[in-house]
Amino acid sequence: MVINQSFTQKLIDIVGQEFVIVDKQDMIVYESDGTHDKGMPDYVTLPGSVDEVAKLVLLANEFNIPIIARGSGTGLSGGAVPISGGLIISINRMNKIINIDADNATAEVEAGVINLDISKRASEYGLFYAPDPSSQQACSIGGNVAENSGGPHCLAYGVTTNHILAIEVVLPSGEVTWLGDLNKETSGIDFRGLFIGSEGTFGICTKVIVKLIRKPEKVQTFLVAFNNIQDAANATTSIISSGIIPAAIEMMDKTASKAAEEGTNAGIPENSDTVLLVEIEGFDEEIKEQELLIKDIVNEFDPIEIKIATDEKERELFWKARKGVLGALGRIAPNYFLVDGTVPRTKLAPVLSEVNRLSKKYGLVVANVLHAGDGNLHPCIIFDQQIPGDTEKALSLGGDILKICVENGGVLSGEHGIGYEKKEYMPLLFSNHDMNHMKNLKVIFDKNNLFNPGKIFPSARN
């Protein structure tokens, strides 16, 4: 797109010179997110208020320029990538925690607030914000709303939509409104629920009112090493079936846990094939009872070792190994493609076997990292994009893994969203009627298709 000087000047008039970027070099950081998809924006703006966002939206409407909302750019589906150019509205400057209402356990925050910062502030009142994506030190709550983000502790607590009472949004018309009415009891259409997870295609979220949770009295974290991935998967199913709802059950296969150990020295046994990280929360006495039960269950699957974090430092080390595993995989090859399918958790073992078979077929290493308790797989396909054909092979393998997930009663994405990356796979899961039904929602909110065009729906539909 040719830069429109008149449009640029109007952007400057709205947000100020220093918050408008049109220089290609300066915009490189905005051309991608955490995926391999790329697209150069035509303009980047960093508004400081909802009024500025609304004015930007009206202006973009006037000039018929696509709008791509962007949080911290940590997304893993190409959702914030400006595939066809357009105006990026970055919400990073809107980063104030407006209010913590400790009595009613809610927080009102601007959309650019970093996820972890909410819990840090809420901890002064013995509270925290539950959804914890692995990128929680960097990702924004507005981005979490757009993607309906999850995280390891969503096993017990649920995902973003379960923790949002209301959102202030700028609609494609430029109108500003709250969706949801702060009350837990609602009536009428759940616009809040529809908007969450709409991947920036319905408008821009500018403020959020989140629910906060009372911090547990005690947390206990287990690191259990198994001889094979099937035992770990079956132990996961047995723990869940026993009636315990752990706060998290995470799994790393041999490749992933080896890389994690090399990166962190967390104490993962050298001879382990697969590692489970199990975390339980509650009252002191409750933890003691559940600890015994979990030991009994995992012992049925002949574990190599059961380690229990003896203090907060060791617990953090266990989690550092899990949350830092993607970075640690860089030791094996420079690039990875992270898949995000979800299957019924009883299908974990057969699906992982299939992933292993496909890995051999394609000749690419796959490191499996899973939110096992939720049945959410993250097979991480490791490759080197400098090797001709490797990128295409990795993408093809990823597609085949998603097909296996769907064939086993699963879905295309558990927590990263469809975005640009997975949109061509939507027909695997949804009929034309289903997609038309969804597309009707898009048209109601955004009849001119200006908000994040080219996402979610397969190309022919756009």
């Binding site: 969450i196 009252f283 958790r345 939110h371 939720d374 289903d434 009707n440 929602l441 898009k442």
Partner: protein
Amino acid sequence: MIKITYLTLVKFSLRREIKLKFINGQKILGIFTPTNKSELQKTVLDLYKSGSPMTFIGGGTKKHFGQTYNKNLSVIYTNNLNKIIDYNPSDLTITVESGMKVNSLVKELEKNNQFLGYRLPLVEQSTIGGSTSYGYSGTYRFNDIHIRDSIIGLEAVDYNGNYVKSGGQVVKNVSGYDAHKLFIGTSGSFGPIYSLSFKVYPIPNNSIFVDLLFDDISDAYLLAKNYLLYNWNIPRLSIMSSSSDRMYKLTVDIVGTNSTVTKISNSIYADYKKFTQYKSELSDRIFTDNFGYELDKMKILIKFTSNKNNFFLPLSDYLKDLDLKYDLMINPIYGFASLIVDFDDNLNKFIDDLKLIMTKNKINMIIEGINLEQHNLLINTKNTNNNIINTLTKSFKDTYDNRNLFSPGKLL
């Protein structure tokens, strides 16, 4: 009279309901009881094509609520769509047809020591599809679970008679829009639900009840306030009051391991001793949550919702000296209260006064009951001043039901 060509396929099997000639003054044109997916599809398509307004009834527990509409209706009963479609207890998910009675679903889950996480009212009569359409989760919610959060997938019929699917049978899913939210709490305004998938939970190992009496509601609230955020261990905490005794009963359900329920109940009793001379004991009451669900014609139900857990104090204060028969149930954890009052000559003035107090305190108020229109009592203070929301709602209705034939008059 509308000609309906599909009558040969549908069954008129519900003798009790055949007697029902009117709903809120609307004449019933035809009653349809599809028994499978394709019959439901065909029924909806034929009725829509013929231009017949239609309403969907599960257990019939809510058919008298909502606004009236001055056109004749066809009624589609869903209670013959009552099968389990898929249930693997180890996955903690279940998929059922929408006409399944809540009690049947509850019993099926209980065989595997599981439950929905919340307990719905009138389980014997109501269906899971009807409860979804109404969007109410009851007063007992393990880990603050709302029905809108527990539904992970749904299939419904659109105005073209096509099945539309949203979500799935997995507990974590961001594949496409959460289009199923459209059908939750919207009273069938976008078409009938065929099937629903739920995330379910293990029933907690231990469960005890504590009932405490107070003569001052402020004391009850002060005690309750300490326990409002025990999401995993206190799924229900209600304050009940009635004009007949002017006492306040705080009822607390405690769940968890044996040691946990003991610890919490001991803590509550220790706190209780600070407040009052009344003596209470552990209760062995059977849980029921039918408050406000079996209204006769001489009573109305007023619901209050708020984002503040002490919202009910001005309401209670106002009721204290009033010469009116009422029953009140307050749920501070979930920010809502239900008030049942008798029709009497002073009701309109009472409602007007109440509206003023609620508006001043930013508390939403909705009235439900029979014959509301005759008493000029159709009130819903929520969202009515938000033109953007009203316009969006209208756009949704126009898009998904452009002839306004699905549950007309319920949403707009």
